[in-house]
Assembly symmetry: C2
Homo-oligomer: 188 residues x 2
């Protein structure tokens, strides 16, 4: 039966939110359209009233996740100093919680490799999101703009690599060692 415009918008947001979570948890190819729709309390056939394809959903989900990340950094900046905002970002990024819960975390360690392989609008959304995160970090680091950008780029690379390694070695000592080393050497 037909749903109201408002109900459709709610379905749309639910699909996007569940996709954003499931894609980060299991990967894009490893998450089926039917699973996403079930998580959104819908049946799979209705998916195509909302998105033209699974690829389009993946690109939209990536864009939404990155927008949320940059938005969060800006929100924190309203009540804290730029330096404190970056420090909080780094501490959260390198937390055990972030390792354990990819569905709520940064999409770069979770989906970066896959997005690059998939190319097209998915890789485009990933690239645009990464650029925005580096912009947001660089603008909050001190020093000349060039230096701040380079520091932001290296910082993000370290964070992403630490999470990839920690998740690949989950439960083993080496993963914890990498996380701890990065935390301490990034000054936390």
């Amino acid at each position: 039966m037909r749903q109201s415009r408002e109900a459709k918008a709610e379905s749309h947001e639910a699909i996007l939110a569940e996709a954003a979570r499931l894609f980060r948890e299991r990967g894009i190819a490893q998450t089926s359209v039917a699973e996403i729709m079930q998580a959104a309390a819908l049946t799979h056939g209705g998916f195509y009233r909302h998105f033209a394809s699974k690829d389009e959903l993946a690109a939209a989900a990536l864009a939404a996740i990155f927008a949320g990340i940059v938005g969060e950094l800006e929100t924190v900046s309203e009540r804290e100093s730029p330096r404190a905002a970056v420090e909080e970002y780094v501490a959260t990024y390198l937390s055990d919680d972030h390792v354990r819960r990819p569905g709520l975390g940064c999409p770069i360690p979770a989906l970066g490799t896959e997005a690059g392989r998939l190319g097209g609008t998915i890789a485009g959304a990933a690239a645009a999101g990464i650029a925005k995160v580096i912009d947001a970090l660089a603008s909050r680091l001190p020093g000349p703009k060039q230096t701040a950008r380079a520091r932001a780029a290296q910082l993000l690379a370290t964070l992403v690599g630490a999470i990839v390694i920690a998740r690949a070695t989950e439960g083993e000592a080496i993963g914890r060692e990498v996380l701890t080393a990065c935390r301490e050497r990034l000054g936390l």
Copy 2:
């Protein structure tokens, strides 16, 4: 028709080598047993004379790739100083070639995320390999052992993250910026 022991060993190595390349290029789930066998100039049915399952092949391929990486570091160390060996490792890691050719490169950016998700022997092989790489790097860095290990851990995280980001943004300026920033700030 039955093949000789020697011929079987050659097939085994060919399957392992093609799997190691294809898994890194496309991911484990995205590479079919049939594709690997075709690349090894065999038909897919014969696969199970060599490996009990695709998972077992993936674990074996990861172990073989990591053994090659650590072996290469040791080989270079025979003709160069520890410091030069690490510098060469870093320079190769952050090269444009490494970004463009994942099939020949480090499995951590290519397969780390997927290995963590798959768990079991695949994640075990990844964790063991990562531990060996960090050992190999740490033993070639100067200073107290604790500090050297922490530096090695952070270094590897930065390298891995830089490649994940560069591949996710392939062709876009932001990827090159991250690579350049990491190269320069790691002293190359």
